[in-house]
Symmetry: C2
Subunit: 369 residues, 2 copies
């Protein structure tokens, strides 16, 4: 375009942006559902068939400042999966099947390979769960963001039969909280992690187990999960589990058996105390036994270096539980058997109680009665 | 929450964030449609009634680095309207009615009053067009963004009867392109504008007309639109027109009269040459007469200071046309009469021709035959 040169002086390279769109177009072969073309202003889609009374569930989320670790480690192919996980697993908390996804990517400077890597990660994760990347926006913000900085947000649309909508209303006192293992820190707590890295001058190429031995003492280093031979950087960029597909299969299996699922909680910002109460009726709360699952080493290590005790870590990080299901007691065994293997663990971590038993936060920690 | 102190040291203030959510909750009284509560993980919504075969149209967009001017001028109550305009008017290009909106706001540091101002602007603009703000995410990115910096993205979902879906396929050679006046620069070209402001050390508090006299010479300053007594800063932050409601009314009126609307184009990044061809069939193009509408002073001034000629300005800024309708000739008069008054102008700006007449860009400028 005629303005390319003048605009390039302001830091926006229109021709380079168009080259990226072309590469994305080649990569994103799309689309069963899409009615409109990729050149349209919006994506036009029919409502998926097979629903008697479809309810649309939408959610938006970002990946926080995990992007800054991607930048430092020059690793951009995993953050897209983190983004899809953040959004799709909010949708699945209402029993809905993620159908369509749109992304918003802001960059300091257009780097075609990096953008294709990021959006390719989004596309790959969407395909894995049968969701479709139907649109997106890539914006260049020269002068406002550093040249290699980026930010990422996602929007997900899912569908659920109205009678199968899950909203916590069908939870009951005595229901069991099943926690499903997380894969590392997912996308929360990274501002804290970066402040620890900078203050303690931590080498991201160092083995995580070695750092743990140095800072926590020998006795602790082998505990928990997530050590192995990975470096600190690898542990911090471990891609987020996406629970959607397996959880939806399990919801269907439980429904077939006539077993009740009252609520689901995606454990993100605010940790278990911030998210578990959202899965149960407003007059109910949860008691969680923190001894019932292993805390990942990366969480214990960075939380401890930040001066946090266990309760503080559990309200900042997912602390080892990425998703929770609130089910009637008869369903607990089936959920654990179905979901432990795919995600590396599933445990009975808590119990639903009247809110009056746990105070206004509707959350308490202790042994389960 | 227990971790507030440690997390605050990393720059994330959880308690302050929760106070913001409370203030937003009070402000956003919500919600006819919403099935889920505000505490849910996603927003659950039934498909609006009255559609025989509803098609969902979705779009995402941001407001570019207009945010940086908001920061410099400490003015945060108008950018939300810009965001809603960017997204909702993409939806309306397909004939769809914007129904639900979600926002993503990233801030360097949580400032409750500022966030309420930004999100309040989004909510107000949504209400104005009968759209509902059903969800959103506010993320704090300390260390990655400056404390007063912010970024904003939106996501809009609309509905259209399948038979009324507009996708350019029903455009024909000889169709008329009607351009509707923009209100200033909307949300495109701001990286260029900022580079001019910084290089030329422009005082944002100076009257726009005075700056124009100084830089363009006396003869030019009175021409075009948008001068008046506004300062440079006011002219640059002028809120974006939202065309959706009035355009949808006009589409309905034309349909009642049996008049054909082939396509619509929202003139955003890439200007007229980047967007008008998207409104017509792939085998067609458009010829635009740049003399057929007045160029706003703010566009001519900043474009000229950036060393751009008119064609370059029209491919960078909206250059005075924010929305265009491609209609059969018999409909042109009605569209102009209906849309000129609400938006300050509507003109016959171009004609649809075979693509072979205008080359691979499917866009050319010249007198209309």
């Amino acid at each position: 375009m005629a303005s390319t040169t003048a605009y390039a002086e302001a830091g926006v390279d229109v021709a380079r942006s168009e080259a990226v769109v072309e590469r994305l177009r080649e990569r994103l072969t799309g689309s069963g559902d899409l009615l409109g073309s990729l050149g349209g202003f919006g994506a036009a889609l029919p409502i998926p068939s097979g629903y008697r009374e479809p309810v649309i569930v939408t959610a938006t989320d970002g990946v926080g400042t995990k992007t800054e670790l991607c930048r430092r480690l020059d690793r951009h192919d995993t953050i897209g999966r983190d983004l899809v996980a953040m959004c799709a697993d909010d949708i699945v908390c209402h029993g809905a099947t993620p159908a369509w996804f749109l992304d918003y990517l802001a960059v300091g400077r257009v780097d075609a390979a990096r953008i294709v890597s990021i959006v390719g990660g989004i596309d790959g994760a969407c395909r894995e769960i049968g969701c479709e990347l139907v649109g997106g926006e890539t914006a260049e913000h020269p002068g406002v963001m550093g040249p290699d900085a980026f930010d990422l947000a996602g929007f997900c649309i899912g569908f659920v039969e109205r009678s199968a909508l899950i909203d916590g209303q069908r939870t009951e006192p005595g229901d069991i909280v099943i926690g499903i293992a997380s894969s590392g820190l997912h996308a929360n707590g990274y501002s804290l992690v970066r402040s620890v890295i900078d203050r303690e001058r931590i080498d991201l190429a160092m083995p995580l187990s070695e750092l743990a031995r140095d800072r926590l003492g020998d006795a602790d280093a082998g505990n928990g999960t997530g050590a192995g031979d990975v470096t600190v950087g690898q542990a911090l960029l471990e891609p987020t589990h996406i629970y959607a597909a397996a959880v939806l299969r399990e919801l269907a299996a439980l429904a077939d058996m006539g077993l009740r699922v009252g609520g689901l909680a995606h454990i993100t910002g605010g940790g278990s105390p911030g998210n578990l109460p959202r899965a149960v009726r407003p007059d109910l709360g949860v008691i969680v036994d923190p001894g019932s699952w292993p805390e990942p080493l990366v969480c214990r290590l960075f939380g401890t270096l930040a001066g946090m005790d266990g309760a503080q870590r559990r309200s900042t990080f997912n602390a080892g539980i990425g998703m929770a299901l609130v089910v009637e007691p008869q369903a607990a065994r089936h959920v654990i058997d179905a979901l432990a293997q795919p995600f590396g663990g599933a445990w009975e971590i808590g119990r639903v109680v009247p809110a009056s038993a746990v105070g206004s936060s509707r959350y308490a920690e202790g042994a389960i009665g």
